[in-house]
Symmetry: C2
Subunit: 405 residues, 2 copies
C-alpha cells in the first residue's frame, strides 16, 4: 500500500471522455489499495483561450488578475474529475491551491513554491478519499492567487509528493517516457528505463519537453522518484531517480537537439578587460537570456566574441549589439538564425574519457562543421548548421551505441 | 463622497465590449469621488455551459464539486473587469468569495450567507482601490466553495452593502427598474420611482424577476436601499426602500402575474381532522412546494381541497395525489395546467378598504372567472384561466388607476 501522487497534463483531460478514462486509471490505483493524490492541469486549449480573452481587454494584462483568470482552468478540471469519480462510486474531493495551502512567493505568473500544507490532504486520505488537486496554482502570503508558469503542474505534483513523502510521483503525458533521442527524427531511439535527476535536468534545459525543469530540480532536492509515463496505455515509462552504479556504466544516456537559438558574433573587438562584460550586459539588461558564449583571440590585440540567444529575441539582440559595436569599436556584427544545438548527456562522462573526441569525430565523419562548443560535467553541446540537425542526432545516437538493443 | 455597492448581471458583462462599457460606468463613479465596490455575475451563458459540461460526466453531479465548477464563472468575470479597469488607468483589484470571506452554511448550490468579512475590502478602499467582488460564491466553515443559487449575486451585493454600511446598493440589469406591470403585456405600465421592501418581496415571490427574493429579505433586514436600474443607459431606476408616508397613499403599486403554476383538486374528501395535512404532506415530502391552498366544505361531511404547485412538478404531484386519494377515500383527483395567478400589491391596502371588491368586480366586468383567491396583508391574488392573463393584468392596471400619469 503506497502513497501515489499522479499528475495528468492537459491533453489527458482534454474532454469529458478523456476525463472518464483518467478517472478509471485513478480508480485502478485506489482499488489496489493505494492512497491516491492526483494533480491536474487545465483541459488542453483552455489556458490559451483565457489568455486570448484577456488580451481583448488589455495588451499587457495585470499580472495579479491574469493569475486569477488562469487559475479557473485547473479549477474546472478538478471539479469535473471529482464528479466523474463520484459518479463511478469512488469518494473523491477536489482541492484548490488555497485549500491545500500551496504557499508561493508573490511573483505572479512565475511564482515559486515556498511551502505546501499537508494537513488537509492527509485528513482526506485518512478518510479514504481520493484527493484531486488543482495544479499550477498557489497563494501568496495574503491569499492572492498565483500561478507557477507554463508546465507548472509538474512542479505542483513533485512538490506535493515531496511534502507528503509519497512513494512515487507519476507524471502522465502523451509520450511513453524519456527517450534516448526524439523518436520523430531518430527511429532507433529507445525509451530509457531510468535516468538520473542530473541527466534529466540537462535534457530539460536542452529542450526535451517531457518535464518542466523546475519540477526536476524539486525532485532532486527532495529525492522524489518521478515515473514519466503515458496516460493512453498501461506501459511502464521512465523512472527519474538518484544516480546509481548502473548509470555510471553508460557513457551517454541521450542525444538532444534544440533549434530555438540564433548566433551573434562581434568581429574584431578590441581585446580589453571588461569588453566581453559590456557586450553581454547590453542584452542581459534587456532581459535576453544568453546561452553559449565563446571568445577567440585574433592577432593584433583583437578578439571575436560569439554568443547565442533565443531565436525570438534575435532581431532585438542584433540591434542592441550593433549599437554596442559602434561604442566599443568592433568591426562588425554578424548573425545567423540557421543554427542548431546538438548535445550528448550522460553521468558516465564523469568517469569516462574521450567522449568529446568521439562526438567531434562522429560529426566530422558526416562532414558536419562545428561552429561552437560548450560543455558541462555531464553534457557536451555543439552548435552546427541547422540543416544538419537530424543527421547529427542520428550519427551521435549510433556512435554512442544507443541504437543497440 | 459615498460608499456605493454596484452589481452587474450576466448580460451586462456578456462579452469584452460590454465589460469595457461597465468599466467606464464604474470609473465614472470613482471619478466622482465615491468608494466603489462592484459585485459581478458570470458572463451570460457561462453558467449554463458549465452545467452542460458537468452533466456529461454525471447525471446528478456531486453538489460540492458543482459549486467548485460554477464558481469559475464569476472568477473569470472579476479578473477580466479588474484588467479592463487597470488598462484604463484605474487601480482595481478582484476578490473571490474566500478572499472577502463570504461565510455561508454548507448547503452547496443554495447556501445562505452567515457573515461577511469587512477588513480586506475596507483596506483596499482605504488604498483608493476599486474592489471587484465575485458574486454568487462563498465559503463554508472549512473553506469549501459554496454558491448561493440562481440570482445569488443580487444577494451577495446586498449582503456586502449591508456589511459595509454602504449608502446605496445599485443593481444593474437589462430593464430600467421595477414597473407597475410587465410592460410587454401592459403598454401603459410605468416605472416606479420607489417601492417598499415588503411590496418588492411580494412582487418577487409572484414572479417579477427583477431581484432575487433573498436579496430583498436581506435589504429589508439591514435596511439597505436598493437602486434597480439599467446598465445600458444613465436613467434613474427604481429605489427599493423602507415604507414611507407617500407609499401608503397609493392603494396598489403594481399588478403581477405568474403562469408557472398548475392546480390540483381532490374532490369529495372525507372531512376529518388531519386529512388536509395528509394530502399536502405527501407532496411536501417529495420536495414539491405548494403555493395557494383552498378548502371548500360540501354537504354530507365531504370537502374539496385545491392547491397549486409549480407546472414543472405537476405530473409528479398528480401521481402522488392519485395514490393519496385512494388511501383516504376521495372521489377523484383533477388537475389543470392552464391557469395563471394575477395579483395586486400595495402597502396602501393596509389602510384602504374595498381593494378586494374592486379587484373581483374588475375581473367580473371582463367576464373572467375567479377559480381561487389568496391574500396577504398587502396582496390579493386570483387564480384565473391562463388565456385571460393579459386581459386581466390590463384591466386591473386600469381599475387601480396605474394607467394615469
Amino acid at each position: 500500500m503506497s502513497l501515489i501522487v499522479q499528475k495528468y497534463g492537459g491533453t489527458s483531460v482534454a474532454n469529458p471522455e478523456r476525463i472518464q478514462n483518467v478517472a478509471k486509471r485513478i480508480a485502478q490505483g485506489y482499488n489496489e489499495g493505494h492512497s491516491m493524490v492526483v494533480i491536474l492541469s487545465a483541459m488542453a486549449g483552455v489556458t490559451d483561450n483565457l489568455i486570448h480573452l484577456a488580451k481583448q481587454l488589455s495588451k499587457e494584462p495585470d499580472r495579479r488578475e491574469m493569475d486569477v483568470l488562469l487559475a479557473t482552468g485547473e479549477q474546472t478540471t478538478v471539479a469535473l474529475m471529482a464528479m466523474a469519480l463520484t459518479e463511478m462510486g469512488y469518494p473523491a474531493q477536489s482541492l484548490l491551491g488555497y485549500q491545500v495551502e500551496v504557499k508561493t512567493n508573490e511573483a505572479y505568473g512565475r511564482a515559486r513554491i515556498m511551502k505546501i500544507g499537508k494537513n488537509r490532504i492527509k485528513d482526506l486520505l485518512n478518510d479514504k478519499k481520493i484527493v484531486i488537486v488543482a495544479g499550477f496554482q498557489g497563494i501568496d502570503e495574503l491569499g492572492n492567487i498565483t500561478t507557477l508558469g507554463r508546465g507548472g503542474s509538474d512542479t505542483s505534483a513533485v512538490a506535493i509528493a515531496a511534502a507528503l513523502n509519497a512513494d512515487v510521483c507519476e507524471i502522465y503525458t502523451d509520450v511513453e517516457g524519456v527517450y534516448t533521442a526524439d523518436p520523430n527524427i531518430c527511429p532507433k531511439a529507445k525509451k530509457l528505463n531510468k535516468i538520473s535527476f542530473d541527466e534529466m535536468l540537462e535534457m530539460a534545459s536542452l529542450g526535451a519537453k517531457v518535464l518542466q525543469i523546475r519540477s526536476v530540480e524539486f525532485a532532486k532536492k527532495y529525492n522524489v522518484p518521478i515515473h514519466v509515463r503515458s496516460s493512453f496505455n498501461q506501459e511502464i515509462g521512465t523512472m527519474v531517480i538518484n544516480e546509481d552504479k548502473d548509470m555510471e556504466r553508460v557513457v551517454v544516456s541521450g542525444v538532444t537537439y534544440n533549434k530555438n537559438e540564433a548566433r551573434i558574433t562581434l568581429n574584431k573587438v578590441p581585446d580589453q578587460p571588461g569588453i566581453a562584460s559590456k557586450i553581454l550586459k547590453a542584452v542581459g539588461d534587456e532581459g535576453i537570456i544568453v546561452d553559449v558564449i565563446i571568445q577567440n583571440t585574433r592577432a593584433g590585440g583583437l578578439t571575436d566574441l560569439t554568443f547565442t540567444v533565443p531565436k525570438t529575441e534575435f532581431n532585438r539582440a542584433m540591434k542592441i549589439e550593433e549599437q554596442v559595436a559602434k561604442e566599443i569599436g568592433a568591426e562588425s556584427v554578424v548573425g545567423d538564425e540557421e543554427i542548431a544545438k546538438v548535445s550528448v548527456v550522460g553521468v558516465g562522462m564523469r568517469s569516462h574519457s574521450g567522449v568529446a573526441a568521439k562526438m567531434f569525430s562522429s560529426l566530422a565523419k558526416e562532414n558536419i562543421n562545428i561552429i561552437l562548443i560548450s560543455t558541462s560535467e555531464i553534457r557536451i553541446s555543439c552548435i552546427i548548421e541547422e540543416k544538419f540537425t537530424e543527421l547529427a542526432v542520428r550519427a551521435l545516437h549510433k556512435a554512442f551505441e544507443l541504437d543497440k538493443e
